[in-house]
Amino acid sequence: MSSHNESIIREPLVTGENITYAKVTDDILVSVENKPNKAWWIGFIVAALGALLWVVSVSYTFWTGIGAWGLNKTVGWAWDITTFVWWVGIGHAGTLISAVLLLFRQNWRNSINRSAEAMTIFAVICAATYVVAHMGRPWLAYWIFPIPNQFGSLWVNFNSPLVWDAFAISTYFTVSLVFWYVGLLPDIATIRDRAIGLRRRIYSILSFGWNGSVKTWQRFEIVCLILAGIATPLVLSVHTIVSMDFATSVIPGWHTTIFPPYFVAGAIFSGFAMVQTLLLVARKVLGLENYITMFHIESMNKIILVTGSIVGIAYLTEFFIAYYSGSEYEQYTFINRFVGPYWWAGLLMYGCNVLMTQFMWFKKVRTNIALSWIFSIVVNIGMWFERFVIIVTSLHRDYLPSSWAMFYPTIVDVGIFIGSIGLFFTMFLLFLRVLPPVAIAEVKLLLKTQSFEAKKKLIQEGHQHAEEIEYYTASLKKYDVLTESDIKELVK
């Protein structure tokens, strides 16, 4: 390659033939502009039944008291906080994809960020319901915020990680929601422009008067960038603070300084797995294979592999520190994860999170859709058990053996857990119906049509050296985007 200074041609992020801006819009809005198909209805009914189960279980809990759950004097948190942390963790991928990858100019994120952000918001909603539901007196939940009050000089305890947690989660939720909605504006405007009647009015209101002018786009870009800047620290802060719910305590298995990075890695790990779970299905059902491509799947698998390995190292570190600390309580807790009555939970945690993800080193595994999907489920099972092990296994046998106890979930515990998954999917499926599951405007940025036409013109008008043409066509061949005839036409 001699003198030319063109950037190399990268793998196209949108595949398929005859991809035009119009086609992109048409493809993505299929689910929004048409009546739902059977698959959606089945999914929705199942999810809605789950959500109903959630409503019933939570109502029952509120009516009778937390005693409806299986908690006891020794294990004061179990499925509630386990699932809370699980959902918060899942919520992490959204922000990471939308904010951090935006700042790093990872354009491939454009195809998946919308769904991932939606997922974040719904996951955080699920998590927040647990925060309220696990309280003994949930009607007083607002006491967690330092609101001026008539109770005298009562204030919150700023030493308590639960207060930090309330701030962290609410900030995270707000920023994620705003970021998500701002990103949605041009797309809502697109729907508006194509809709008629009431739909048009509704989307018109929702689009905040988007008019597509250059100034609008410019402001849009700036707002997105600013929000990305604000959201980026949150990726680290939220789960750091969630981890401090445990790390600042004195309970062996909780009292661990490695928790913040370990929890953040675990959160990204489980978040990407959840994105994978959702999108692998959605791309098929909604026909979005050209937008969410194998490249995306593999990229996400790589992130799962990296974060899973970080989590694995964190596990090893924990064990080493337990041994090295010389604290018999600490040591017992970690041995207990393997040989105690909850050995099976420990096995699921270490097996699913560390051992299974190591298969991702193989490209064949990474690019196998079925396997990816199964692994994404496995990861989230493993991550649920990680929190279960940290919370329940640590608590159930702490300092004084006289108080050691087992935790047995009740039907209400199970109902709320399954119900929260139902709630999540209900929200997600409704989202697919009313808002574009892929960011239309951002995906359009990825299309190479214009540059290809321009290049073609240059070549055909003879402005290019032969070696440049050769390099260019070779690149095109390499990524297999163009058919033979296209290339022939190019070089004829």
């Binding site: 004097k73 004061g76 719910d245 305590s249 309970i251």
Partner: protein, 1003 residues
Amino acid sequence: MDSNKKYWKGLEELHQTPAFVEKKGSEFTENIPIENVLNEAGLSTKTPRRDFLKALGFGVGAVTLAACQRTPIHKSVPYIIKPEEVTPGVANYYASSYKGQSLVIKTREGRPIFVEANTKALFAGNGVSPSTQASVLDLYDMSKLKGPRSGDEGISWEEVDKQVIAALNSASNSGKQIRIVSSTINSPSALAAINEFTVKYPTAKLVVVDAVSYTGMIKANELSFGKAVIPQYRFDNADVIVSVGADFLSTWLDGIENTKQYMANRSHTSLKNGKMSRHIQFESGLSLTGTNADVRVTVKPSEEGPLLIALYNELTGSALPNALSENQKAATAIKLVAKELNQVRGKAILVAGSNDANIQSLVNAINVHLGSYGSTIDLDNASNQYKGDDQAFAEFLREANSGLIDVAFFAESNPIYEYYDSKSVEDALSKIKFKVSFADRENETASFANIIAPNSNYLESWGDSEAYAGYYTLVQPTINPVFDSRQFEQSFLIWAGNTTSYHDYVKAYWEQNILPQGKNWYDALQEGFEFKGSRGGSAQSFTSSVSDLANQIGTQSKAIAKDIELQLYLSGGVGDGKQGNNAYLLELPDPVSKVTWDNYAAIEPKYAESLGIGENDLVEVKAENGYSIILPVLIQPGQAAGTISVALGFGRTKAGKAGNDVGKNAYPFVRLVNGSLQFNNSVTISKAAGTYVLAQTQTHQTIEGRNIIRETTFANYKTNPAHGSGNTGEKHKTYDLWNKYEQPGHSWVMAIDLNACTGCGACIVACSVENNVPVVGRDEVRRRREMHWIRIDRYYSFENDNNEAVTREGEVNRLSDLSQVTVVHQPMLCQHCDHAPCETVCPVLATVHSSEGLNHMAYNRCFGTRYCANNCPYKVRRFNWFNYWNDSRFDNYLNNEFTQLVLNPDVTSRSRGVMEKCSMCIQRIQAGKLKAKAEKRPIKDGDIQVACAAACPSNAIIFGDRNDPDSAVSQALKNERVYYVLEELNVQPGVGYMTKVRNTFEA
């Protein structure tokens, strides 16, 4: 002057416009479409939007107003004439007594709410038993009868008297017998009243029968010394205590007095003086006393007699037959024990739990040999607590069956339930024409009675008792009878034709017989007791033939030495079952097994394994007489192999709402042999279908090698008092994350002597009563949700073949012999840490530290995240999972307004969703401070006593102000034995524990 002025309504009138003229005649200038509205079309006109909104607004407003219920009215009726001594908010204390123990009853606004031992009392002045502590709840029992009854009908007392007197007269006239069946009555006034009755009706006779009797001991003393009494024991005079199956610290005779005496030689004050008694226990099941023994050896019930023969042989050098031969461990122990005993003659005591006259006679012989009489046993001053005569009751049944008895009264006796042969009691009752029960509820026996004449609770009664010879205690009512009940003594007086009120009767009796010169009735009422006797006693000699005894013991032992031997015992809480409906006692964990709400078959682990029985199994226990019950299995280390132990007092069918069908009735396993009840039997057991989870408050039994329990031996203690406490060498330097605050005022702390704590659980009940701690029921305990603010952790440890302590579960499971177990009891409550982990994590500051070193809990601020409980290393915080005081599922306890009267008004009852825990009886601290302030003096040590410490019969709990250098607790915490549980966490707990010291044989 007429005025011509004219006023117009308007210009229209002035000008008389045509329109005005036209409309002048009608009432309304504009036509009102009233017809339109009223006809059909008008009614169906569309409601305009504004009207709709108006209607909606009015409707919502009206409904809102209607829904605004007025704040519920709680009527508080002020006193019209205020009783002189009752000030709302200020407690009154009255001296009274229960079962012969002098007590102080705390009342608030006329409600008795707490009982404490009378610390000035001569006997049992340290504390109370769990059952005495819980007795206050019996007063507020909803299952009690509201008045006298005949069959299912409520009748008046006049009617009762009429019917009873008619029956009595007809019986007297026809020469038929009248019997009063009662458990031990040691009240001199009651006996006098009954005497009056028997004078009036000469065929009347008192039959005294106790559910758990001491007839054998009384008979033995009669045979050996010619005195048919139970002696007073003086464990405080003994250097060596040997007990063969006697649970003397809990249920054997006066456990509270025994504990007090026992601790005189074992508590931290005694250890300070370098003195500690040695206690050797031989027994089948692991009893509370056994857990406190220095040396404990398991024997089967059938080996108890042979063991005593062997001990006699060893001590005296004689060679009686039938001595213990098979149990090697026991045989070795006997040699050591005999050597020990011979060294301390005159300062030794041997007690046996058996109710067999022969065994007790042999015990007498040994005690005579040891010179115990006159020093550790006082036969001259009897104990009157159990005077039941099993033979007399058998005779009663025989007479009744042959139709000799026409009228029978049952006072505090429930033979249908308590007697081993309830069928024969039933038959006998059917032959008695007229039966009167004084039961306060329609219990098992009362349901057969013609008339139930409910007796008043002791808190509503006048009375007295003479539990020990010459030691008189008064019973003073602290509340008017709540229901239409009458003391049975009063009934007897009335039926005897004496119309004096029983109060006057008791008063007169005391003035004539008991009160010394210069002391009046009111002095006695204030003091609560009067002691006229002496303590001491003379030496005795033993003249009967010991070889005859040995022969008979041999035969008797062989009778039960087959199949599996069953030992029947009393649990420290439920006892003989008389308080069977007392929810506090039912939920009190058994001191050893920590089981609540059930009895069970205790089986040694390895033996159970050999039988193929495991935890949560059910077994059918079947005796030769055909009686069988299905019981859950409790795997009990320290149980003798080849035996099972089952608690009596359970399985009541007519105790009341809480107590019905709790556990199974084991009384039918009792045998009547040689005229006394034997609390052992030979049974077979077989696995029954199904599983059953016992509601245990503790399921992990060992300390896993952790240094939370620190102990040493007496020998080591003597060389270094700090031995085993971790107080030797330099302490770790500690660092502080928080700012240090000066605490110039008080600093409330506690010291707990592990050597003194017997594990009885009186503190648990006391705490529950004092602090309105809810009873949650079996299911909730199974879910590990008991609410007790103080618990007693009980840990087992075992020895391996190298005599090393084994405390890790995994290693314990590999041991071959688990019958030799050592036990430690550790009361565990909020440690009021100065660096409390719970405080930092509460998001709403609901739990905060006081300037006096206490960890406060602000219930109203708590919204129930439970983080504090999770972060508590001691796991002493308790969460209100439900609204326990107002939830139909917890109906056994506070779910009615009457029982709620037992609540301490100084302590908030907690609602659902709120955390709670030990407050160190903050209400008592405040009351003490107020009192001192009112009296314009500083608080002095002992002014404030927390409920658990007040109840503790062994003074194991010492509460006080650390900032007062002279306080008992400051002194105690200076003890070399003091350590803090989990002190390495630097949470700086406020409760110091003193090491457990065992006076074991030096190997």
